[in-house]
Symmetry: C2
Subunit: 146 residues, 2 copies
């Protein structure tokens, strides 16, 4: 009887990763709802805010790990809410830079505080040093594939 000897599911990093991720995303989505955002659109808004000259949708897709066609819808949604604008890029007229409106920056700040507070529930048992190491590991997982 040597069948079925694999590691238990509770030791599988892929499984633990997606279960924990779902947990945090759920909590964050609930907190962002009152600001009219979800994790996805919030991420786009944050990235637009932290880039000095705006970001092309291609760059957004790459950083977020999403298909470019999804970014279109997210930017559409944010633009309809008046939080970002699509600006023509001078250098390359194919690309459209996503830049936040003043209102977008305000919402980003308020939503950011709500999101951080909400994520504290699932992440509360982690110390500062642990968070740093977790950040480092997750970043390396991301870069391992390209």
């Amino acid at each position: 009887m040597e069948v079925c000897m694999g590691q238990p599911l509770a030791d599988d990093l892929g499984f633990l990763l997606s279960r924990a991720s779902g947990q945090v995303v759920r909590a964050t989505n609930a907190a962002l709802a009152e600001h009219g955002l979800r994790v996805r659109s919030y991420s786009v808004l944050v990235l637009a805010c932290e880039a000095a000259d705006g970001l092309s949708q291609r760059e957004l897709a790459t950083v977020l790990g999403l298909d470019p066609s999804q970014v279109v819808l997210l930017v559409d949604e944010l633009a309809a809410a008046g939080l970002v604008e699509r600006q023509a890029a001078e250098a390359d007229r194919r690309t459209r830079l996503v830049v936040p409106t003043p209102e977008g920056r305000r919402v980003r700040d308020a939503a950011g505080r709500a999101a951080d507070a909400a994520a504290e529930t699932p992440l509360g048992l982690l110390g500062d040093g642990e968070r740093d190491r977790l950040r480092d590991m997750l970043t390396r997982i991301w870069t391992a594939t390209g």
Copy 2:
């Protein structure tokens, strides 16, 4: 100018978690495809294999962090493929225990090897000690909410 001062998105644990999770899930799904499974159904199969007397679908949903209605479809799929069976529980006739077939155990082993190998690509940069700490942290994130 104190607007837009939140942490960069690359430091947000929730974001890093879901991006890394997506990466691993993508790689694992690709590897499981040749066995006719995806991450979800594979997880159910593994849990059914490691429980001595089978698991109720309720327990499956709790452990996986899924809605019970999703478990129904996953078990349907696995049962249609002949990998698990629904057994009546003697103690409580409401519950239906999910138990693997011999074929299910064989597939679970083969698929497990493929999944582990595939996950090695995104997780390759992590040492053994790091994996242990990552497991510990992800498990605590899960238990932090109940």
